[in-house]
């Protein structure tokens, strides 16, 4: 299945992309989508514990099962003020 991945803040710089289309096995979870991304962009690994995710504009957990066409957003924490 294909999903759209939106990346924010530092994750955009580490991958060089704000939006990516990814192919995943059917029934993959958000966590699996992140791991697959981190395999291609190893510098993302440092964010694994702290990154937040949303599926179709709703906050979601890594265990959430994805469906074809879903839009996943990965949001690293930002602290600037």
């Amino acid at each position: 299945m294909h999903v759209t991945v939106r990346l924010f803040a530092r994750l955009r710089e580490l991958t060089g992309a704000a939006e990516l289309t990814r192919e995943l096995p059917d029934g993959a979870t958000v966590g699996a989508a992140w791991e697959s991304l981190a395999r291609d962009f190893p510098s993302l690994t440092a964010y694994t514990a702290s990154v937040s995710c949303a599926v179709n504009e709703e906050y979601s957990r890594p265990s959430h099962r994805l469906e074809d066409g879903d839009e996943i957003a990965f949001l690293p924490p930002v602290s600037g003020g």
Binding site: A9, Y47, Y59, P76, P77, V78, S79, G80, G81
Partner: protein, 499 residues
């Protein structure tokens, strides 16, 4: 068995003024259709012409939003209570829905009256029904605490003072630096070197002398936060680091004070209202802090000067709505702003029942050590080990200058970013940003008789990493320039500008 459906005030004219009605159905959809067959005038308010539930009508079964259940197909059990919650513009939460009054003190009893001067000053508020005299009096009675008088704190404090918030507290312990002026519009060029609080107080008093400004020149800590927050109705998080963000969040949840949250990075910002009754908190969004040093600060990563203006004014807007108890607060929604693409997005966010601080069974019942939680060691006690290199891998700017003057062969490697290189550089240096270094080792001198490589960055931390990488890759003649280009400008070439 019929289901009880609670009817909100605006819809009661269509149910014979009844505030609760019984309807039959196995699912929400069936029960609502039964309801509208009993009260035909109600139908257009709940359903579109083609029979779909209107998007701005929110329906809850026993306090659960059906959008998070099976929507109209959600099954009803005996004893279930259904609530219909319409909202004017499709917002998720209204103050009325939550049975929550404004965040300010109870009106009428202790609201101060407005003087004639105040009536003139706030006339543009007073003539709007959403604010009016009552709302302006709520603002005058309200107490808002702003954490930080920097990028976000500047517009927040300026607008809240201008809007007539009666008492404004500000916590900060920094002094104004030239590099702040690009975005921290509370402070001006003549304020450089002054305490930010003294500067803020002068500026805010000039805008609105009616506002009482209380300044707290201290770091916010687990020891002082609860006592400080108790005197305020709304807390505005304009801080610049993770330990303080978790501290502000937890203190707000423990005291039940709403937290108008904002955070910025380069061209992107986030805003939300946390710790509002029934809504999520910062930990529901980010349960785990990032490892220390992973997320660049404004000083490290840079920030568009206007960005905190946009996010800070959103925080100020939400604060005013919380005080007025009007509109749909930014609760349960994380607003994301991308200034570069000029795009706002919104993510739905719910309270996490397992949240350690605002969940159903909280494990955090008092403030903790937030530096430890975030893995940060206080600066004073910080071991130098992380960036410290053995002496044979270091050199000083004086030594480098002497070697250049003697025309020794030295290869100066600058591992900063190209935009930093444009600001200032050491003549004859070669730029390879740290991130590119592993792929560009072939450009470095190596082998017999190769010159020594002196690596530098802005202040010495990135170049220390580069030196370690190069040593690991077998480079033997390599040294880190202690203090980086800042030390070079301070002690060798003061003609160049520092950043």
């Amino acid at each position: 068995m019929p289901t009880k459906i609670l009817i909100p005030t605006p819809l009661r004219p269509y149910t014979g003024k009844k505030d609760a009605v019984e309807a039959h159905g196995q699912t929400i959809g069936e029960a609502l259709r039964d309801l509208t067959s009993q009260f035909a005038d109600l139908r257009p308010h709940l359903f579109t012409e083609d029979g779909r539930l209107r998007s701005f009508v929110n329906v809850y079964v026993n306090d659960e939003d059906i959008r998070y259940l099976q929507r109209e197909a959600t099954a009803l059990k005996p004893g279930d209570t259904v609530s219909i919650v319409p909202s004017v513009a499709g917002g998720v939460v209204t103050f009325e829905d939550r049975g929550t009054r404004s965040a300010g003190p109870e009106p009428r009893d202790l609201e101060p009256t407005l003087t004639n001067d105040e009536v003139k000053r706030y006339s543009r508020h007073l003539i709007m029904p959403e604010v009016g005299v009552d709302g302006q009096r709520k603002l005058k009675a309200a107490r808002v605490l702003c954490i930080g008088a920097g990028g976000l704190g500047s517009p927040v404090a300026l607008y809240l003072a201008a809007a007539g918030v009666g008492r404004l507290g500000i916590v900060d312990f920094d002094t104004v630096d030239f590099s702040n002026l690009q975005r921290q519009i509370l402070h001006g060029t003549p304020d450089v070197g002054r305490s930010k609080l003294a500067s803020a107080k002068d500026r805010l008093a000039a805008i609105n002398p009616e506002v009482r400004i209380d300044t707290y020149e201290t770091p916010l800590t687990s020891k002082n936060a609860l006592a400080l927050f108790r005197d305020y109705d709304v807390i505005v998080d304009g801080t610049d680091n993770f330990p303080t963000r978790y501290l502000v969040n937890d203190a707000c949840v423990l005291l039940g004070k709403p937290n108008a949250y904002g955070s910025i990075f380069r061209f992107e910002g986030q805003a939300s209202v946390f710790a509002f009754p029934g809504g999520p908190c910062y930990r529901c969004l980010y349960p785990e802090p990032p490892p220390p040093g992973l997320v660049p600060s404004c000083a490290e990563g840079g920030v568009l000067g206007v960005l905190p203006g946009v996010i800070g004014t959103i925080q100020a807007t939400e604060t005013i709505k919380l005080i007025l108890g009007a509109g749909q607060p930014l609760v349960g929604r994380l607003l994301l702003y991308d200034a570069f693409r000029m795009r706002f997005r919104e993510l739905k966010l719910r309270r996490d029942p397992d949240c350690p601080v605002c969940g159903d069974h909280p494990t955090i019942r008092e403030l903790i050590d937030y530096d430890q939680f975030c893995g940060v060691t206080p600066a004073a006690a910080q071991p130098k080990a992380k960036t410290e290199l053995p002496p044979e891998l270091e050199t000083t700017v004086e030594d480098l200058k002497a070697r250049l003057d003697r025309r020794d062969a030295v290869f100066i490697l600058d591992v900063r970013e190209p935009q930093e290189y444009q600001i200032c550089r050491i003549a004859g240096s070669t730029l390879i940003p740290l991130g590119d270094l592993p792929n560009r080792l072939a450009e470095l001198p190596s082998g017999e008789g190769a010159p020594e490589i002196v690596v530098h960055c802005k202040s010495g931390a990135r170049s220390a990493k580069a030196v370690r990488q190069l040593v690991d890759r077998g480079f033997t003649r390599v040294r880190n320039l202690k203090g980086g280009i800042l030390a070079w400008i301070d002690r060798v070439d003061p003609s160049q500008a520092k950043y």
